[in-house]
């Protein structure tokens, strides 16, 4: 499935992406196993960029590994750790190595991670990074200089359909669309009715929306995320559904729920695809796809 992600996005097919997290260290075994497992089953694989502000092997390294294995990587880039020189340099490097998909993110705050005394950079924000990608495609850098060899990217961003209040989030979403985002991978969604309402609004914009599907591995996790993760809301009925099965069956129930949501989104053509986040349980992504009938 290593056809270009941009082509897949524009093909009209229901797009499936997933993600892998690089290791904390140089032992790439697990990450490579996940890449191997996913590369032919999904249209593209995101590689997280020091997710939750935890220092890890770099996103760009994970993307190169995906390329080497014949997969299609999406480079996640946050603005937390690099200033505009470093961000642009990485875009040049990525483009030169055939990594042509980038997800532009603000990045989690430094204090939520494992290097709590570090300086949060935020020289650019996610919107300015998107604009930078588009500028560099035109052959220029942020300093107004010509590039000897431009970049080429399919650029994406994120949106939180369950944010409260929602309007500031939608204003930023529209700014991201104007800045040139081609696709959005949303924060995890669980309430399909709410999501369908968001999609009614989002459909007016010329962008592809991939619904974020975060695997629920237990009722406790579902409760925890609802209470603590910004923009995540798991309906009580879903928490109850997980709680009805014995502990050792909860993961399977979570897989079933994720599969059911994906199937429903696809059946009713609610959105353009899904982005599956298994958060440490990447090995079950094929099971989620099977549960969705894909």
């Amino acid at each position: 499935m290593a056809s270009s992600f941009k082509e897949v996005l524009n093909s009209g097919k229901f797009v499936i992406t997933s993600e892998v997290a690089p290791p904390k260290g140089t032992n790439l075994e697990k990450t490579l196993r996940h890449i191997e497992l996913l590369k032919d089953k999904v249209d593209a694989i995101n590689v997280t960029d020091h997710q939750s502000s935890v220092m890890r092997f770099p996103s760009i390294g994970g993307c190169l590994a995906i390329k080497e294995k014949g997969g299609e990587p999406i480079l996640q880039m946050t603005c937390r750790d690099r200033n505009r020189l470093a961000l642009q340099a990485e875009l040049l490097f990525a483009s030169s190595r055939g990594i042509n998909n980038v997800l532009c993110l603000t990045g989690d705050a430094v204090p939520v991670g494992d290097h709590k005394e570090a300086k949060g950079v935020f020289d650019l924000d996610s919107l300015q990074l998107l604009k930078t990608v588009r500028l560099m495609e035109s052959g220029q850098d942020l300093g107004g200089n010509d590039l000897d060899g431009a970049v080429e990217f399919c650029a994406g961003a994120t949106v939180t359909p369950e944010a409260n209040p929602i309007e500031p989030q939608l204003i930023k979403f529209e700014k991201k669309v104007e800045a040139g985002a081609e696709f959005f991978q949303t924060q995890g969604i669980y309430d399909l009715d709410n999501f369908a309402k968001f999609m009614e609004y989002a459909r007016q914009f010329p962008v592809k929306i991939l619904a974020g599907i975060i695997l629920l591995s237990s009722a406790r996790m579902a409760k925890f995320m609802t209470a603590n993760v910004p923009g995540i809301f798991v309906p009580q009925s879903m928490i109850d559904e997980l709680a009805t099965v014995p502990k050792e069956e909860m993961l399977n129930k979570g897989i079933e729920i994720a599969g059911r949501m994906i199937a429903a989104l696809k059946k009713d053509s609610i959105c353009d695809g899904v982005h599956i986040m298994a958060i440490g349980k990447e090995e079950v992504v094929p099971d989620i796809l099977a549960a969705a009938g894909l």
Binding site: R80, R84, T106, G107, D108, A109, P111, V112, G120, F122, D123, L124, D125, S126, L127, Q128, K131, L142, T158, T160, A163, N164, P165, E167, P168, Q169, I171, K172, E174, K175, E178, A179, Q187, P230, G231
Partner: protein
């Protein structure tokens, strides 16, 4: 406007004073008095703490305004006691520490950390509202500075870490962009939030910053 300070942990102060047995203490009668970090009471408390660890306090003063030339007057008035000391422990913000260091030849040791320039919202509650970035955009953000009030200093709207009007780094902290949104909405000026803010110029006034008024 006040320069907000916090006393350093006593062990850190003690470490800085290693090798200095005779100490002169200078407090400040303005901001540090209001924040209860360098007024008469705190200076006297420091004096007894130092005596408890066998330091000799050769004298003390609370300068009315430590960051201006009153420091020079205060240093001259206390010349004998300062000459009789190995160093001056300053309980003012860093502006005062800097000022005093220009008037005397003794080492100057800060007893406080200077946190921010803030305003007092309610008695005893000090709050940072300006980061003195040199490129003010609060005309477009309803008077709330996103450089200061947003943890990440974002200028184009909220990040995904905002939750029910609060910030991902602290559930007690208001999300700057929710506040800005609510005020702009009330003023019927949400179009300002839709405006693209370009990358900031971090060299608008290169450090160290100076201004000469003619």
């Amino acid at each position: 406007m006040k320069s907000i300070t916090k006393q350093k942990p006593f062990d850190e102060i003690k470490g800085q004073l290693a090798g200095f047995d005779r100490i002169f203490i200078a407090g400040c009668g303005t901001c540090a008095t209001m924040t209860k970090t360098g007024g008469v009471e705190q200076v006297l408390e420091m004096k007894s703490q130092l005596q408890e660890i066998d330091k000799l306090v050769s004298g003390w003063t609370v300068i009315p305004i430590a960051c201006d030339e009153m420091s020079e007057v205060a240093m001259k008035e206390n010349d004998r006691a300062i000459q009789n000391s190995n160093c001056v422990l300053v309980m003012s913000c860093a502006l005062g520490v800097h000022r005093i260091s220009t008037y005397i030849d003794r080492p100057v040791i800060p007893a406080l950390d200077t946190l921010f320039i803030g305003v007092e919202d309610t008695p005893g509650y000090f709050h940072e509202v300006c980061a003195q970035c040199g490129q003010c955009i609060i005309g477009e953000t309803a008077g709330i500075c996103p450089i200061t009030a947003c943890h990440k200093g974002l200028v184009n709207g909220p990040c995904g870490g905002t939750n029910n009007g609060k910030c991902e780094v602290d559930k007690e902290k208001d999300c700057a962009w929710t506040l800005i949104y609510e005020r702009l909405k009330a003023q019927n000026r949400l179009d300002l939030m839709r405006k693209y803010q370009p990358p900031r110029n971090f060299q608008a006034s290169p450090r160290p910053r100076t201004v000469k008024i003619s």
